[in-house]
Symmetry: C2
């Protein structure tokens, strides 16, 4: 409530001196500083950040815009961002777009109005409009978890292609050949990349992908449920499912349970995205574990760098490796004379080292 002039009056100095004491800028004598500090304490003075922002044109705030704040992958990223930002006295605004471009634009507009110093963005889909908007207002941005066309823009993400490759390679080594891929929407680069990794792993062993087994619908449990139901009707029925994220995997598991199909006995299931340890009673799913905390931390670091040191400069593409974690949900395909005509293919040997090579891919 008290403002800088009240403090100045009480301390018998000018408001400029108070400002210097508060911000630790310029020189002040021990004695006046002590007087000012006493006055600040007495009045319970708290500087008005709004006025400060107006003057200095810097809000000392960044924003993190994600598609789904209930997904632990994104909340873990948020923790990383928060830790990095707090360390440098930056505040963070979290926004949730629900994978809607319209909401994304609406939030960005709000953030621009509020003069945030920078934005960490997980684009809902085509980031084009959003990036243009931010650029027009000279707001630096770091894109998280997605590829973007522009070479000018900073990017931090997991290597989706390599991760997907490793997962499918793992299935192939177990002997699977008929593998369904349940993915997110086509507009999202992670969907595309994960499918690409899937195709590469299968191509390597000479399997031509049946495009009816590759479904793009959405990164939520409901989409997973419906996609899984569909592919269960395929002939021959696949012996394994690759879910492009954790929620799809959950939905798929539910569909399998409904249909009385056991995992991994009748069907293997692997997924991109782990769940935090604390969530899983019995870690069961074979997954690619993404370094979510580090992604958040690194992204915030890149952004804060742009805000201080290097405002311009080419975009840095930071591609972190995921980690293959093999658990109980994947096993060799059943040898029973199932509907699958290819069930007898044996595991591929001697390629383990290769499958794991993706672990060292960080390019940033």
């Amino acid at each position: 409530m008290a403002n800088i002039r009240d403090v100045a009056r009480l301390a018998g100095v000018s408001s400029m001196t108070v400002s210097r004491v508060v911000n630790g800028t310029g020189y002040t004598s021990q004695e006046t500083r002590a007087r000012v500090e006493r006055a600040i304490a007495e009045l319970g003075y708290v500087p008005n950040a709004v006025a400060r922002q107006l003057r200095s044109k810097r809000s000392h705030t960044i924003a993190l815009v994600v598609t789904d704040i209930t997904n632990p992958f994104f909340t873990t990223i948020a923790r990383g961002v928060e830790d990095e930002a707090a360390g440098r006295d930056f505040g963070v605004m979290f926004c949730n777009t629900d994978e809607s471009d319209a909401e994304e634009i609406a939030y960005l507009q709000m953030l621009i109005q509020r003069q945030v110093d920078g934005v960490l963005l997980v684009p809902a889909s085509n980031s084009g409009n959003s990036l243009r908007l931010l650029h027009a207002h000279r707001v630096p941005v770091v894109v998280i978890d997605r590829r973007v066309r522009s070479t000018q823009i900073d990017e931090v993400r997991t290597d989706s292609e390599a991760g997907a490759y490793a997962l499918v390679r793992h299935l192939v080594e177990l002997g699977h050949r008929n593998i369904a891929m349940l993915s997110g929407r086509r507009e999202i680069s992670t969907s595309v990349d994960r499918v690409a990794g899937y195709r590469r792993a299968l191509a390597e062993v000479g399997v031509e992908v049946d495009s009816r087994l590759v479904l793009y619908r959405g990164y939520d449990a409901d989409a997973g449920l419906r996609m899984a139901r569909e592919i269960l009707d395929a002939t021959p029925r696949p012996t394994a499912i690759f879910a492009a994220n954790n929620f799809i995997a959950f939905g798929a598991m539910r569909a399998l349970r409904e249909a009385g199909i056991r995992v991994p006995d009748d069907m293997s299931v692997v997924a991109f995205d782990d769940l935090p340890d604390a969530w899983v009673m019995d870690p069961f799913m074979t997954v690619i574990n993404q370094p979510a905390y580090d992604i958040g931390r690194r992204a915030a670091e890149l952004l804060l760098e742009r805000l201080t040191a290097a405002p311009a400069g080419a975009g840095r593409k930071c591609v972190l490796p995921g980690k293959l974690v093999v658990r109980g949900s994947s096993a060799p395909p059943s040898r029973l004379p199932a509907t699958d005509g290819n069930g007898g293919a044996g595991p591929v040997r001697g390629t383990g080292a290769r499958a794991r090579r993706h672990e060292g891919i960080a390019r940033c």
Copy 2:
């Protein structure tokens, strides 16, 4: 980049007229309004919220301060808050205290500096200092998920006592008498209330609680793990565990698995807090399901009301009912001659209606 004067110049009017058009206040002729709007579009003018805030003393922003943003209970609350706030054109800042009083105070100070219009607070522990700080700066607050002493302060939470009572009553009806309680820290009202409900349910059937079976340590998986290990050494060993939240339950399950104890065959486990459907492959845990989304929504509603209509007035205590969801983790105690000398107690009959009475408790 363009400011209100640039628009004014281009439209050939004063900046005041632009202000009126932008805010829809006062009168403006059709014609000038059209001219102004064209100029706005042409320049890509976006009003500067910071300047506006400085002038109007209102930031149109509220904050949600929680103890753990990775807990789905809190992210679901966040969704409720966000939806309610966005509907009224308010922004939301999310902050994470990690159950630390120091971080809580630090965040509140930041929020006060930024002139947030109000705060939704899940206190780390004793909310005293925080509430005093907010009060001193005239920042309205609604406390979420906790009781507070003051009758002046708005509060939105689940009825922890009644929920705990229902869960333990359920165990009692199954025949359990020797039930361990693994809870959060004593300073947190939910811990106290859940233990109170536990005591009431046991007292009703004449069981005196062995205080060595009531542990207060923390609302995280690690605490759950360690508490469960401890009570496994008790003689007689309890036949059931009541975990005061979802994370404690996970930790406890892990301890049980380590010890080769099957659930519910050898030990029943029930918990406060459900998990979102999308996360649980096989819903298994008997729980109290809290209306998290509604809690967030209602809390935001109360706060926004204070910001507009009723700035003063007595605190409203909004206590919502939880819902008992019985699943597979609870069963009658084993009849085998275990270490438990009381294993043979039969289920209590005819009290189902009573146990479920807590469902209608909303007092707000």
